[in-house]
């Protein structure tokens, strides 16, 4: 792998890390399987590209963030007010967003940014050099992690975390759990959309199908990060999630390097997640088999 490729992989990993932070909020903190991600990711990318085309890349990121929040609120509405299961609510929102994303892109399946300014090109003009993309992405992620950390330590953040642990307790404490779910899913998808928005400007391209499997990739990043980098404190966990995303990108880059056809990537992603989630069970099976076939030692008698 060339040095250039390593830097590129890091850049992608850090950008995708923003999505992993969002999914961390819904899957881990709120304990809700939120599949809106596949749709809200593209919503962010579409909004970002459309606004970049008219020369407003920064505004594009901000509006993408807001649009993603709206998408999350749709899922929260379906789940809390209409009592649709979380999983199905997310699927419905994802499906609806496909059409909405096409509308944002004026009915085109993909749009390329040709020499229009993006946040990356603007930043490069200021500091120059080969690392400007990496620096910008890192700064944005660092900023988001700090904001995220501070938020999770506010009263609202506490209640959101408690909702994931024990929603009954939150209601017994006089707080509407519908509200915490709205806030949680809203912020989670705002992060996901911001990730899509940054990625679209990074690659100067948006495709209506680019969101497929994003939730799986994000989940893989969260799990890898937690296993490899630890969960001992909240701050550590947030960094772990982003670093997990970088590791995931490296796995993929190496697999491609070794000659894996790009078409098989989604299959590999699904396998990684399935293996990571089932690891404890597989380990248990392995231990049982080991006990079964190892020569039995009778307990030592006195």
């Amino acid at each position: 792998m060339s040095f250039q490729a390593i830097i590129g992989t890091f850049e992608l990993g850090i950008i995708y890390g923003i999505m992993a932070l969002g999914v961390f909020l819904s899957f881990r903190t709120l304990n809700m399987p939120d599949l809106t991600v596949d749709g809200s990711f593209v919503t962010g990318a579409a909004v970002s590209v459309v606004l970049s085309m008219s020369g407003h890349p920064i505004l594009g990121l901000i509006l993408a963030f807001i649009a993603g929040g709206g998408a999350g609120c749709i899922t929260a509405f379906l789940h809390t007010k209409l009592k649709i299961q979380a999983l199905l609510a997310g699927i419905l929102a994802m499906l609806a967003l496909y059409s909405i994303n096409l509308k944002i892109m004026s009915g085109r399946a993909n749009i390329a940014l040709l020499n229009q300014p993006t946040v990356f090109s603007e930043f490069e003009k200021i500091i120059g050099g080969d690392y400007s993309k990496l620096i910008l992405a890192s700064l944005i992620v660092l900023f988001l992690i700090i904001i995220f950390y501070l938020f999770l330590n506010t009263r609202l953040g506490f209640l959101l975390r408690a909702t994931g642990d024990n929603d009954q307790m939150v209601r017994a404490m006089g707080v509407n759990t519908d509200m915490t779910i709205f806030v949680g899913l809203g912020i989670a998808n705002a992060f996901v959309a911001l990730c899509g928005a940054l990625l679209a400007q990074y690659q100067s391209y948006v495709d209506v199908g680019m969101g497929v499997g994003m939730v799986v990739i994000a989940l893989a990043s969260v799990i890898i990060g937690e296993v490899v980098f630890g969960i001992s404190s909240l701050m550590r966990r947030l960094f772990a999630v982003v670093l997990g995303s970088c590791l995931y990108r490296f796995f993929i880059a190496i697999a491609l390097e070794l000659g894996l056809p790009a078409d098989d990537l989604k299959l590999v992603s699904a396998l990684i997640v399935a293996l990571a989630i089932s690891a404890p069970v597989l380990k248990e099976h392995y231990n049982r088999l080991k006990r079964k076939y190892s020569p039995t030692k009778p307990p030592a008698s006195k």
Partner: protein
Amino acid sequence: MLKLAGVSKTFSIGSINEKRALDRVDLSLKPGEFVTVIGGNGAGKSTLFNCISGMYEIEEGQIILDGMDITNQPEYKRSRYIGRVFQDPLKGTAFDMTIEQNLAIALGKGQPADFRPGVTKKNIKYLQERLALLDLGLEDRMKDKVGLLSGGQRQALTLLMATLVKPKLLLLDEHTAALDPAIAKKVMELTRQLVEKENLSTLMITHNMKASLEFGTRTIMMHDGKIIMDIKGEERNTMTVDKLIAQFEKRSGTALENDRMLLS
């Protein structure tokens, strides 16, 4: 303080499993009254609690708390005035958060969920003092996750959380039933202290006939969704477990089938 008028609740209306769990229940509590609730399985004790706390909606009747009609208020709104401790020690706390964070949530009951810090230094000091009163040594473990605590420690913590902001009504649903006897005794003693010190209006479900007479100022017995016995004052002071069982069998027309109620 609390007034229930003709409260009815039926499960699975219109199906063959239709069950009238509460049948026009009337109940009135004076401020500071500590009422123990007894009755066999399926008598409607927990249903009564769940209707008062808003977990279930009722079909008929009215629930008034301190002059406020809360009949149609959602659960979370009523919770601002009602403290609850459940039978299951897992239900009262957030296991993946620290003792300090759990208590901070309880301390903020009734205040808006906003962007102020979840815990402040000043709060921690106060919470530690309150926790020290439980005499379980938890005040030195503020940063420990609640998931690390035993069932008894959790129930004591939940009890403190339910009363940290003084509620108008405290509901205890067999909150010591899942604990081993020594810890159960300790938690009951803490309950008595807290209720007496804060002069809380309290309803406590118990399976223990002896405890039902030992604790509180009034005892009600439920059967088949109705309150069939309500004793207080002199009558209660002279009541024994044997007489209570005899009364139950006379009034309900059935033998007391529940071993758990007789034993202990």
